[in-house]
């Protein structure tokens, strides 16, 4: 068991280092601006006094590494500085919005994961049948469509023509849980369509891979019934790839959420990121990017650790 612990610890350490490097990239990318932030915000026509005042206010007169450590320390304690546009603390605005985004992503994941794994195993069992081929075409189409295409189709048919759901997913604190679910149903459904397709294909591939391995063939040849081959022989080894697939797709959900939030005007962190990119509100952009990147890396890390823990062969690397 000691072995697994070290491998997992090593992987966690590596993830931590990656996060650190990414925080450096996110911070110093802004330093690459022609001139500096003050110049970029105030524009070419700014007077020297104005520039100097703004630099002083933002603390730009101190060297970049010092500011980086202050920023990182602040970010770790939940303080992302002040927004350049609204002059309010970034963390305040991000707090509720991040909660909303997580709510939407969780909603989509809770629907998508069971459906995708069930259908993925089903098409793997009936591979090369009509059912499999139709599923292949449908999932490919769904993957290839941009999220806003699916989103607007759903709005057109289920909101405007059908009138079953609201087209704009506005939610606020005071709403009841079920009201929130009802209002976020369309954006969640959009993400479910894309993620189910991805997950189904990945599950299908890994299950087929598994069923082609010699020990499964052996079990079949010695006369084990088909369902028992799946449950007793294939499934224990299928957990690792399936956990991997789930975690990778959750990571995908986190980034796919940006476009979906914009389509449905959902008050999440993705829309905030897009807004602040257009307004060139750098502290907000940095904070949002850091949060997205951290979530992405943590989920990828979870995928790795999960597959190490469930796969006996990965526990003893050669």
């Amino acid at each position: 068991m000691g072995d697994i612990a070290t491998i997992v610890l090593k992987r966690l350490g590596l993830g931590f280092v990656t996060l650190l490097v990414i925080s450096i990239i996110i911070f110093f990318a802004v330093e690459l601006l022609p001139g500096d932030i003050a110049q970029a915000v105030l524009g070419q026509g700014a007077t020297d006094e104005n520039l100097a005042a703004m630099r002083k206010e933002l603390g730009l007169d101190r060297p970049a590494p010092v500011r980086y450590f202050e920023w990182l320390g602040g970010a770790l304690t939940g303080d992302f500085g002040k927004s350049l546009v609204s002059q309010t603390p970034v963390a305040e605005a991000i707090g509720t919005r991040f909660g909303n985004t997580l709510f939407l992503a969780t909603f989509a994941a809770v629907i998508a994961v069971p459906i995708a794994i069930f259908l993925g195993i089903l098409v793997a069992l009936f591979r090369n049948s009509v059912f499999d081929r139709v599923a292949n075409v449908v999932t490919l189409t769904s993957i290839s469509s941009p999220e806003f295409f699916l989103g607007y189709i759903l709005i057109l048919f289920l909101a405007v023509k059908g009138g079953y759901f609201p087209a704009i997913a506005k939610i606020d604190e005071g709403m009841s849980f079920f009201d929130k679910l009802y209002r976020t149903f369309l954006p969640a459904l959009t993400m479910v369509l894309v993620v189910v397709a991805h997950m189904m294909r990945m599950t299908r591939a890994s299950i087929i891979n598994l069923l082609a391995s010699p020990y499964v063939e052996m079990a079949r040849l010695k006369g084990v019934p088909a369902w028992k081959v799946i449950v007793k022989h294939a499934l224990p080894n299928a957990w690792a790839p399936v956990i991997n697939v789930v975690a990778l797709n959750l990571a995908y959900l986190i980034t796919g959420v940006v476009l979906v939030e914009v389509v449905f005007v959902y008050p999440g962190i993705g829309q905030m990121l897009v807004d602040s990119v257009t307004k060139r509100d750098f502290p907000v952009v940095q904070a949002c990017c850091l949060i997205f990147a951290a979530t992405f890396i943590l989920l990828n890390l979870a995928a790795d650790v999960g597959s190490i823990l469930t796969n006996p062969r990965l526990r003893h690397p050669k």
């Binding site: 990656t18 490097v21 990414i22 990239i25 996110i26 990318a29 802004v30 690459l32 601006l33 591979r127 090369n128 009509v130 059912f131 139709v134 292949n136 075409v137 490919l140 189409t141 993957i143 290839s144 469509s145 941009p146 999220e147 806003f148 295409f149 607007y152 189709i153 709005i155 057109l156 405007v160 023509k161 087209a167 087929i208 082609a212 990571a251 986190i254 980034t255 940006v258 476009l259 914009v262 389509v263 990121l273 897009v274 602040s276 990119v277 257009t278 060139r280 750098f282 952009v285 940095q286 949002c288 990017c289 997205f292 990147a293 992405f296 890396i297 990828n300």
Partner: protein
């Protein structure tokens, strides 16, 4: 009950019975599931839903016909070896090739095909479709159809340029790392790991907020974000090639690194790279479309599918399908490329199970 509903069910049930009688298993399953689906649809949505099912089935049958004839056309005009390959291609691949062909034509000959210029204002905002304007006008009164045609040139062209640049950078660096090995290989590998661990949409938003959005920056930023994937593939394929005897022989001949990469490594690792090019193009294309949709990609007045969706999005709430047309154009091309790539991967992997 009117004649349409009776005729509809009589047709599907009759067709599935015929298929069952003549032992056409696949056709029967397809037709019978269509029957079951239309039972449910008919009960839920009434006659209008049945019309939709008919329309959908018609579209699918029509595109199957088009793909079949385009494939036969390719079989006839292509020389021996290639026509044999195309003959065994599934219908989906034929469909993909046909769509790519159509897009290429409309992109290349855009000024000849489009009746108006891409920035030409010819009527009032959101004017309805008439004989003059096939798809109506957009939010400024420009011809939607002309802009769609020009979009094929602008959007696809930009995505193609970015993909090619990503490939040049990624493949060169990957093959170089494989040939040289050592510290540089390690360093490049770590850099690639870091870039790939940031979600691409987020990373491009960060970089575009800093460098601003003009076409050149857009292409470079996207190429930088997507080249790591190419690097990884080129590195792993090159790793298998570099241990071959002919590389050893070339090294003993005293050939330089650049010669090795160009004349020995590249030709022997080209096949997987080409399949990857198609996939990569899809990712880049979707990213470009997404960025334009967010207003951070190709800037107006250049016609571009992503921004056309955003500009006309308000029409959706009036039940108009106008914003869906450019979005559908994006989806259709990505689907087509994916179909072709799927076929190529299936062929090269030799998976027959």
């Amino acid at each position: 009950m009117n004649y349409f509903i009776i005729g509809f069910y009589a047709l599907v049930i009759g067709a599935s019975t015929l298929a069952a009688y003549y032992q056409k298993r696949t056709t029967f399953i397809l037709l019978f599931s269509l029957t079951l689906v239309s039972f449910v649809m008919g009960i839920v949505g009434g006659e209008s839903m049945l019309w939709a099912v008919t329309l959908l089935a018609g579209i699918i049958a029509f595109s199957a016909g088009v793909s079949y004839s385009f494939r036969e056309f390719l079989v006839i005009i292509l020389p021996g070896d290639m026509s044999k390959e195309v003959k065994t291609a599934p219908l989906t691949a034929g469909f993909g090739l046909f769509v790519i062909f159509t897009y290429a034509i409309s992109g290349i000959f855009a000024p000849i095909i489009a009746p108006y210029g891409e920035a030409e204002i010819i009527s009032s905002a959101f004017a309805l479709a008439d004989d003059n304007m096939l798809l109506g006008a957009d939010q400024l009164g420009r011809d939607m159809f002309s802009r769609i045609i020009y979009g094929a040139r602008n959007t696809v062209g930009l995505a193609l340029l970015a993909t090619i640049l990503a490939f040049l950078m990624g493949a060169t660096a990957g093959l170089y790392a494989a040939t040289k090995g050592g510290k540089l290989d390690q360093l490049l590998g770590r850099i690639v790991d870091v870039i790939m661990s940031i979600p691409s949409l987020i990373f491009s938003l960060l970089l575009l907020s800093i460098f601003g959005t003009n076409t050149t920056t857009l292409i470079i930023v996207i190429a930088i974000i997507y080249s790591p994937r190419v690097f990884r593939l080129a590195r792993s394929v090159g790793g298998n090639v570099v241990v071959m005897d002919y590389i050893e022989a070339a090294k003993l001949r005293g050939e330089g690194t650049w010669y090795l990469i160009r004349k020995e490594m590249l030709p022997n690792s080209l096949a997987p790279l080409i399949a990857e090019f198609g996939l990569e193009f899809c990712f880049v294309f979707l990213l470009v479309a997404g960025l334009s949709f967010l207003g951070l990609g190709i800037q107006p007045p250049t016609a571009d599918w992503g921004s056309m969706v955003r500009e006309n999005a308000t029409l959706i709430s009036f039940g108009e399908i106008t914003p869906l047309i450019p979005a559908g154009a994006i989806a259709l091309l990505t689907v087509a490329v994916n179909f072709v790539v799927d076929w190529m991967l299936y062929r090269s992997s030799g998976l027959k199970e």
